[in-house]
Symmetry: C2
Subunit: 334 residues, 2 copies
DNA sequence: ATGAAAGCGCTAACAG
DNA sequence: CTGTTAGCGCTTTCAT
């Protein structure tokens, strides 16, 4: 900046004014400065500026997700990025791999970089460690999973209602032996889905004793194995509810291997890529990751713009998409 | 930091030493400082430190891809993030949507934030605008697409060889009327794939006059329409080569609608999610986005570590995965 | 082993 | 309209 000022033959502050488009600079001076900046390939240093700037904002956001390599996270990320771009805000992303230690480390890393806000899919038991930062005024929005041990804005799918809808869908088609294949039970989202499932069975008066429940599934392979095991017993389920997209994929693989994909109903929570092209098509409770991301970004920016109202909890509805697998009726013999 | 120093009753520099783990601080002092930092919830400001730090590094990388909401980009992103994490480097990601203006804007934004290096899937005709930055010593690695108008490290798939392999695969099964459905022809990657396709036809002595070629396809919908149009004519192709994953998806949809997915062969460039579960399974030329990302990150860090050897061009091999759609033989009548 | 002073590139506050 | 001075939070250099 000094160099530009020297080359343009003006004061350093004038350069600052031109770069930031502040008023009260003559057109001639502006032109001179711009020319000098161009010949020197000058790029202003945003970080240095933010050090002194009144609002102290870095125009930066931190996003923590299970993995950036995951369709759900990717959609959310994209929506957040688009909202951020409009405000000249850049986004850091970090993958957590369901590791609580990594969550705290990543949060700390972002805080050191003075992100203006944090959007996170938490994986730790409690996010109380964020309290001091929150008190300091850094907005934090929880997406997909609600916070524990702390109060802050959250944007989540209607997990219980979605799971209920899926279960009802299967019950209405006559299924009674519906297997529940779930994620790790310490994840609140998984608990909600489980609750929705059992509440609906209860409402229908279906005894839950005989219901096969397998939990702790975290990827397609473990879900595949669990499904294969499940079908080794007698009293086979006539339908499966899977609580997460990777689990759904594992179930699909297993049912195919067993040759049971045409006579066993399946409804999965969260959409599956190309689910409409499979045979049968996969009936799912689709979430709206784009909406979740967009709303989360809106919350962050509202907070940054001074909104100090109490923490909000936004529930984004899910949608049942019938594609075939969920409309299979029970085998006559059970 | 001043506050911490005051609370601990030491000089500000001592705090700096403790935080950065520098030697020559007594254990007692270290403990005092750490305690003070904890009670004040102190997080060092990385940006402020970098302002004065000798190497002037921000420990930050910029990644530019078509869209963070895209399986290929997601895999690459993840691999880069993992490599960066080991070195305490955070990653900014930005989606370009094939918009050259957006590319330059995003690059500029990242430069202003003083990223230590840039990894980009370029969409502009020429990247000559990066020359000054390159001269200044910022490493730039091009991924998936090679640079034009500038020389720098690049990591790309073997596009021509992959397309050749796909074409050979179809020729060997007796196909002669193979339709080519391609991306925008101004993309170098698309050109390479096209070249591989026609080279292989030429090598086999197949006349290229009658070969249906449709280009300029950028998403699944446009590809679907193009395929539907293609099958409205007479002299239907017996096989299709699609040059990109979204195009492949569009072709699959169209073939299904036409009821031709079992008698028309299809090989797609780039893998398709769940391609193994479709019926028929989708034969593809799979790329290795994780490898590309990993190698790109390695290049960046090697440059940052002082490697000044000439620009390298790393070609990552592709792999033909047979799943059924590519092994369909021509209809008897043609 | 510790601290004081200077300065990184910039913006804020206040002159001229 | 333009320039000067101070200082953001930290690291460097040099002294103690």
């Amino acid at each position: 900046m000094r160099h530009v000022a020297a080359l343009a033959g003006v004061g350093i502050k004038t350069v600052s004014r031109v770069i930031n488009g502040e008023p009260n600079v003559s057109a001639a001076t502006t032109a001179k400065v711009l020319a000098a900046a161009r010949t020197l390939d000058y790029e202003p240093d945003l970080q240095a500026g933010n050090l002194r700037r009144a609002d102290g904002r870095s125009r930066t956001l931190g996003l923590l997700v299970s993995s950036v390599d995951n369709p759900f996270a990717g959609s959310m990320h994209r929506a957040i990025e688009d909202a951020a771009l409009e405000r000249g805000v850049a986004v850091f992303a970090s993958s957590l791999d369901d590791d609580p230690d990594r969550e705290q480390q990543a949060v700390s890393t972002f805080l050191r970089r003075r992100v203006d806000g944090l959007i996170l899919t938490t994986v730790s038991e409690s996010q109380a460690y964020l309290a001091p930062e929150l008190r300091r005024g850094t907005p934090v929005v929880f997406v997909d999973r609600e916070p524990a041990g702390i109060t802050s804005d959250s944007v989540v799918s209607d997990n219980a209602a979605g799971a209920s809808a899926a279960t009802r869908h299967l019950l209405e088609r006559g299924h009674r032996r519906i297997a529940y294949l779930g994620d790790r039970p310490n994840i609140r989202t998984a608990q909600e889905r489980r609750r929705g499932f059992f509440d609906e069975l209860g409402a229908a008066g279906v005894p839950t004793r005989g219901i096969p429940v397998i939990e702790g599934l975290h990827d397609a392979e473990s879900a595949r194995h669990a499904t294969l095991d499940l079908f080794r017993g007698d009293e086979l389920p006539t339908a499966v509810f899977s609580s997460q997209n990777l689990v759904t994929i594992g179930v699909i693989r297993a049912l195919r291997e067993l040759g049971r994909h045409r006579d066993t109903a399946l409804v999965g929570f969260d959409d599956v890529p190309l689910g409409d092209l499979l045979d049968p098509g996969i009936t799912v409770i689709a979430q709206a990751p784009q909406d979740i991301g967009r709303i989360a970004a809106e919350r962050i920016f509202a907070r940054l713009d001074g909104d100090t109202s109490p923490a909000t909890r936004t529930v984004v509805p899910t949608r049942l998409i019938e594609r075939g697998s969920g409309e299979i009726t029970p085998r006559p013999e059970g």
